[in-house]
Amino acid sequence: MQFESFSSFLAMGGYAFYVWMSFAVTFGAMLLLAVGSYRQHKVLLKSVVAEQARQSRIKRARAKTADISPE
């Protein structure tokens, strides 16, 4: 350990603001990217199911109109 105490570790030799801001923004950005990608995955799967339901609704509706108007 390069620092004598935890508070001196936090102080970063007077550069606390720059060092901790850099690390916070870096890992914050990486976390956002990862979480965003997984969230997008969920949304996409839902939209695939919704699209499939829409297609089958259209198919059923077409079949019905074909039944009603046979002439």
Binding site: G14, L45, V48
Partner: protein, 247 residues
């Protein structure tokens, strides 16, 4: 020689490959990032000139190096897509673009936060900084160009050409510190025969470099799967996958 690669041109196989690799990449990335960052922040010795502010190097250098490597990987994917007509390669290209853009942003941001205490300025129009900023614009350009196309097949080709043309910027970034008289310091670790950094400082840097690389790979697998779902929405295997709920 490259025959093993061919099955992965099929999106279903590529999707499965991503799923298999993903957990290992995440575990490796988290472990390396944790070890490298704690090591670099708490255990690496102080710099004799820059004091503790130099510890920003442990995120600045990996993100900067990998912002360029990711760009090259993206351009290689575009080239593969063009030459062998692999749609999957274009999908990989577009999956990587936002990841590379985030890396470039991190490199620029941590550079500014390091420049302020050391140079006295958040930003200077120095060759290294400016060319890295252009890299960010190239990434944004590729993403935006792809987004303007309704037909993703066409969009992939257009964005691919842009990615390929932009490769010219990568050597410019790398050699900017030699070609021009810059405020930015010269290369530290790319001189493998004689790195100008003490080994106690170098090791955590290499661990974090690996951690960032694994992180990029892990997020890319997630994003590539997303891209495949978007492009293959009507394929039976995608529909089945979505109806099964998850995975």
């Amino acid at each position: 020689m490259w025959k093993w690669l061919h099955p992965y041109a099929k999106t279903e196989n590529a999707y499965q490959l991503c799923l298999t690799l993903q957990p290992w990449l995440w575990v490796g990335a988290l472990a390396c990032l944790l070890i490298g960052s704690v090591w670099g922040l708490a255990f690496a010795p102080q710099d004799y000139q820059q004091g503790d502010s130099f510890r920003i190097i442990y995120i600045h250098v990996p993100s900067a190096i990998l912002s360029m490597s990711t760009y090259v990987a993206m351009a290689v994917a575009a080239l593969v897509g063009m030459v062998w007509q692999w749609r999957t390669a274009y999908m990989a290209m577009i999956a990587m673009a936002p990841v590379g853009a985030v890396m470039t942003f991190i490199a620029l941001f941590t550079g500014a936060a390091w420049g302020k205490p050391m140079w006295g300025a958040w930003w200077v129009w120095d060759a290294r900084l400016t060319s890295e900023l252009i890299l960010l614009f190239l990434y944004i350009g590729v993403i935006a160009l792809y987004g303007t196309f309704e037909d993703k097949q066409q969009g992939g080709k257009a964005a691919g050409i842009m990615a390929l043309v932009g490769v010219i910027n990568v050597p410019i970034i790398h050699y900017s510190v030699e070609w021009w008289n810059t405020l930015h310091q010269g290369a530290t670790i790319s001189k493998f025969d004689n790195p100008s950094i003490a080994p106690e400082m170098l090791w955590p840097l290499l661990v974090n470099l690996l951690g960032f690389a694994l992180f990029i790979a892990a997020v890319t697998t997630v994003r590539l799967r997303n891209e495949i779902i978007v492009r293959e929405m009507h394929r039976p295997w995608v529909v089945k996958l979505a109806q099964k709920g998850e995975k």
